[in-house]
């Protein structure tokens, strides 16, 4: 059943990539294992954003709020309760999804930019609460030295935990995108009015989209806890939301793996260029401008077009107008 949704080339490629990632720790220094973990976690976050952004056409401007909610849920349950550890990890996506539902119920009726603006305000509200509530969330200090279970603490065990969960989540997201719901989501992006006319409850489906996206952002949040063993208010900050938005645009927001690629590019750039200058965001800005001018569909969108142009049935000239 699942095999049916993969293209002929996609499945072996994905398997190859996964095998490569599994054997990565044997081949590279610890720092790169850590870095790959960061890319995977952030990439999962960006991919979950892209479900509503690239596939759903909704301007989810403050997606990091759900990431932070997930991370804080795990952190607070680890420190403030004596419940089993797995519960702390299971609660993260559920709480994030609940927040997604709340914000969705408030925002989903609004269109495009109004939706985005209201989302920024509501997300910032959550940030402000976390930032100020010293007794509960640790305020701007955050919570450090979280008791992450030993089986998944340390760079390599954490890497495998993150790799396993990220792969599972990506698979689930991929199945969702190819499902009837995913189809409707893309239809909503292309033409909400037409969707209404074929009997789709637009608001309800937008809310479902936000809940699902928030759920996976919550998973990413709990993975962050595994990796870093700490949480801080910056996880819910608007600048992080902007950063993952840029990852989607840069990598290709109409492609499934584009956001993951974008995450790799930006984190790679930050790591390399950050060594030389603290103004590395200038380079990022320049890259972004070049992307918008020359690769409006992002890096992976461009690569896709290149490959399709070789197939006789889909000439490039045809494809290149699709984005309009």
């Amino acid at each position: 059943m699942i095999c049916g949704i993969f293209g002929k080339k996609a499945l072996p490629l994905a398997a190859l990539l996964l095998v490569g990632l599994i054997f990565l720790p044997a081949a590279v220094p610890r720092f790169y294992i850590y870095l790959t973990s960061v890319v995977l976690v952030t990439g999962l976050l960006a991919t979950s954003l892209n479900l509503v952004l690239g596939y759903g056409g909704m301007y989810q401007f403050h997606h990091a709020a759900f990431y932070g909610v997930g991370a804080y849920t795990t952190a607070l349950m680890l420190t403030k309760t004596s419940l089993p550890v797995w519960l702390a990890f299971a609660a993260a996506p559920l709480t994030a999804a609940f927040f997604g539902l709340l914000i969705g119920l408030i925002c989903a009726r609004l269109s495009s930019l109004h939706f985005g603006m209201l989302q920024i305000s509501l997300g910032s509200l959550i940030w402000a609460v976390v930032y100020r509530w010293y007794d509960f969330t640790g305020g701007d200090d955050g919570i450090h030295g979280l008791p992450v279970p030993s089986a998944i603490s340390g760079t390599t065990p954490a890497y495998y935990f993150i790799l396993a969960l990220t792969s599972l989540c990506l698979l689930l997201l991929f199945i969702i995108i190819k499902s009837p719901y995913g189809r409707i989501l893309q239809a909503l992006r292309d033409n909400p009015e037409r969707c209404e006319a074929i009997g789709v409850n637009v608001t309800r489906h937008r809310i479902i989209g936000m809940v699902v996206a928030a759920l996976f952002a919550g998973v990413a949040g709990s993975l962050f806890v595994t990796l870093e063993g700490s949480v801080f208010p910056e996880l819910l900050s608007w600048s992080l939301s902007l950063e993952i938005l840029i990852m989607c645009l840069l990598g290709g927001w109409f492609t499934f793996l584009g956001p993951m690629l974008g995450a790799g590019l930006i984190i790679g750039l930050r790591t390399v260029a950050g060594n030389y200058t603290e103004y590395w965001t200038l380079i990022l800005g320049l890259m972004m401008m070049l992307t918008i001018f020359f690769l409006p569909k992002g890096v992976l969108g461009y690569v896709n077009d290149l490959f399709r142009s070789r197939a006789p049935s889909q000439p490039l000239k045809e494809r290149s107008h699709v984005a309009d």
Binding site: Y181, A187, R189, I198, V202
Partner: protein, 245 residues
């Protein structure tokens, strides 16, 4: 099937529709004609729920449907196409129609089965009937305008409607494309027994094809009747046909 009386709608004080009356019986082909700005599209948007009327009543299959949202109306058996093409431009022709079928089958909230295997036969038969089979896998944003208009109709059919509302189905089409579209509409009416309500600029076409015609001017219904009645109506002659038909 559809009863409209004294329907009214204004935009910022401008009365776009002020006294619209219309009745459509099952199996009929009814046309709405009128000059530009007569309120035809507004009337259609009121019927299909895109707009909320300020007054008057709309009854569909005996039920008051004023103020119901478009997706509810679609579920009740009313489906429409748009004057300005509204399609899912990044999807293939097949996927466009399939999406409508998926929606009708109430499977839109299903997250875990592959969409592409759903309702393949039904979608293909619609594409067949509309002559779109050979363009099945084309990205529909790249089709010619005429094909996109036909696709509009095909998407509407995906909802398996009883009443099909077509807003200027041949607008912007070449003579040849218009011919094809008309043949299709005739087929829908005669073979599939659909009730069709449409509006159109081309008066000749309307008279040749419809069972009954409603004439609008400045937001009001002037008359409704058979093509012969309408042709001989003195008011219509004066307002619309130029007097000496």
């Amino acid at each position: 099937m559809l009863q409209i009386s004294a329907l009214r709608k204004s935009f910022d004080g401008f009365l776009a529709v002020k006294e619209a009356n219309l009745s459509v019986k099952p199996g009929e082909v009814v046309a709405v004609i009128g000059p530009n700005g007569a309120g035809k599209t507004t009337l259609f948007n009121l019927i299909s729920g895109q707009l909320r009327p300020d007054g008057g009543s709309i009854r569909f299959k005996g039920e008051d449907i004023c103020g119901l949202s478009p997706h509810r109306l679609c579920r009740k058996g009313m489906s429409r196409s748009f004057q300005i093409v509204k399609i899912f431009s990044r999807m293939s022709v097949f996927e466009n129609v399939q999406t409508a079928v998926i929606s009708r089958m109430n499977k839109t909230s299903n997250l875990f089965i592959p969409a592409r295997n759903i309702a393949v036969k039904e979608t293909e038969s619609i594409l067949d009937a509309m002559g779109l089979s050979d363009k099945r896998d084309r990205i529909c944003g790249l089709l010619s305008h005429g094909d996109q208009k036909v696709l509009e109709m095909a998407i509407s059919l995906g909802s398996d409607p009883q009443l099909l509302i077509l807003d200027e189905p041949t607008a912007g089409m070449s003579a040849e494309e218009t011919e094809t579209a008309i043949t299709l509409m005739k087929k829908l009416s005669s073979q599939m027994g659909l009730t069709i309500l449409f509006c159109e600029h081309d008066v000749e076409l309307v008279f040749s094809f419809s069972d009954r015609i409603m004439v609008m001017q400045q937001g009001s219904t002037i008359t409704q009747g058979t093509p012969a009645q309408v042709r001989n109506d003195p008011q219509v002659k004066r307002a619309y046909l130029g007097g000496d038909d």
